[in-house]
């Protein structure tokens, strides 16, 4: 599903990633951990082609995304879901409208949009909050709306960049369990986080980055032993 081969990313003088290689199989759930500045978000940005590597190759579903043209990028992004630390919800739209917005903009039929959005709301257990605006939702609920928006197009890959960075520990656990449920439904999930407690409890594969390099990669790892 994902394959990074000798990827280096340099910003001016700063090396964010240094010869990073790893592979993630379909339907896996993987955590990328590391301290701030370790290169976690850079990996994510390379995967959804917000950035191009300075050298090396980044494959998603056998496509070298670093070679994708600007006009081909939307096609790649429609095949993956992205969850952000700051949720990126539009304040003037309800939960339903936020989830429906990307579908609306790609020209999907309204009946299909309704069906998909209700389905996504059901997955994140927010059917009763469909008509609420973000300001009336808790942080955890807002992130669940963000996750619903990310999965509404039925992606085979879900990227979550620090999804619990703005949430308390209990809510964070709920969010990770939700991501785990989505993974169990067959979606590959890659989570960049520095939430130690949750990573330790999830017992999933953990790739640890340190100073832009892969420090360790364990099938069932913990944050504590990695960093």
């Amino acid at each position: 599903m994902i394959h990074l081969i000798n990827v280096t990313k340099t910003y001016s003088e700063l090396k964010a990633l240094d010869d990073v290689s790893f592979e993630i199989q379909p339907k896996e759930m993987v955590f990328i951990v590391g301290p701030s500045g370790a290169g976690k978000s850079t990996v994510m940005r390379l995967l959804y082609r917000e950035e191009r590597p300075t050298s090396g190759q980044v494959f998603v579903s056998n496509v070298d995304v670093s070679r994708l043209s600007h006009s081909q990028t939307p096609i790649l992004r429609r095949r993956m879901g992205i969850v952000f630390q700051d949720f990126k919800l539009l304040p003037n739209k309800t939960a339903f409208e936020n989830i429906a917005y990307p579908l609306f903009a790609i020209g999907m039929d309204q009946n299909e949009i309704n069906k998909r959005v209700h389905g996504a709301l059901k997955v994140v257990s927010l059917t009763n909050k469909a008509n609420d605006f973000p300001k009336n939702l808790s942080g955890g609920e807002q992130q669940r709306v963000g996750i619903a928006r990310a999965i509404v197009q039925g992606p085979s890959l879900l990227l979550a960049d620090e999804p619990t960075g703005n949430l308390d520990p209990i809510t964070s656990m709920e969010i990770f369990q939700l991501l785990d449920r989505i993974n169990q439904r067959g979606t590959t999930v890659l989570v960049a986080t520095h939430n130690q407690q949750v990573v330790d409890q999830m017992k999933k594969r953990v790739i640890s980055l340190s100073n832009g390099k892969v420090a360790s990669d364990e099938k069932i790892g913990t944050y504590t032993t990695q960093v």
Binding site: E50, R77, R78, I82, K88, P102, A105, G107, M108, Q153
Partner: protein, 291 residues
Amino acid sequence: MRKIRMTYRMLYETFLDIWRSGWSNLVVISILTSVLSIFGLVLQVSFGLNLIGEKLNDQLEFSVYLADSVDVKNFAVNLGKQPYIKRVEVIDKDVAWSEFRKNFVVGEDFQNPLPNTVHVQVARSDYLQSTIMFVRKMSGVIDINYAPGVLGFINKLKALLQIVGTIITVLLASVTIVITANTIQLVIHTRQSEIEVLRLMGVEDWYIKGPLVLQGIFYAFLAATLAIIPLYALQTFLWETAQNLIGNVLPTGLSGNYSSNIYRIYYILLIFGIVVSGTGCFWSTKKYLKI
């Protein structure tokens, strides 16, 4: 079907953007309307002067008097081959003398003093001066007679008007481009989060940029329509006044040409408006919209 839905939804987004722009719309539309009104006025007067010039056919004619040694028919044929000459008519000196004698009593022994004459009509008023200069240099030409008065004045007025009008239009158009660009920048800033969500969720560029471009076209359409109203009213007023005052001496066929001119002016204003506001939109999206 999907493209139709997306186009409809893009129009909806455009409407929302215009709504969000609030008072900025008014500023852009008023300035663009002023620019187009001035530009339209220049066009209108310029077209009007052209029309009058073209209708004053006799002003486009001049007479060439030739020496007896010149073969007048050959001269006329050669002249008629020039592309900017519309008509050449030969007046033979004997025919002219005979006509003259029909109207005036002249003694039998009086010698014919008239020269062979060629009446020349040029296709457009712009060609008159250069043609006269060209003909004057031809051999056997004794003299040329023409009435440059009204036409010369019209041409000078038209040139002056075009220079002044162009300077004002360019200045105001530049201001409009800057203001349109600022308005679009404001829209981009307001929609920043939406644009980011759309592009990260895989929405195509044209759907994101489309509403901003359509907003520019909307400004142009509205401003051109608003600008044509006073121009139409002015044209109607001037035409009716001219009919009342000098209707009997106005060249025939002016009315129809005047009506078609207003449509021509509207189309030109619309295109000019789209170019001006489109430049503003393009500049702004290029500079501020990062997709």
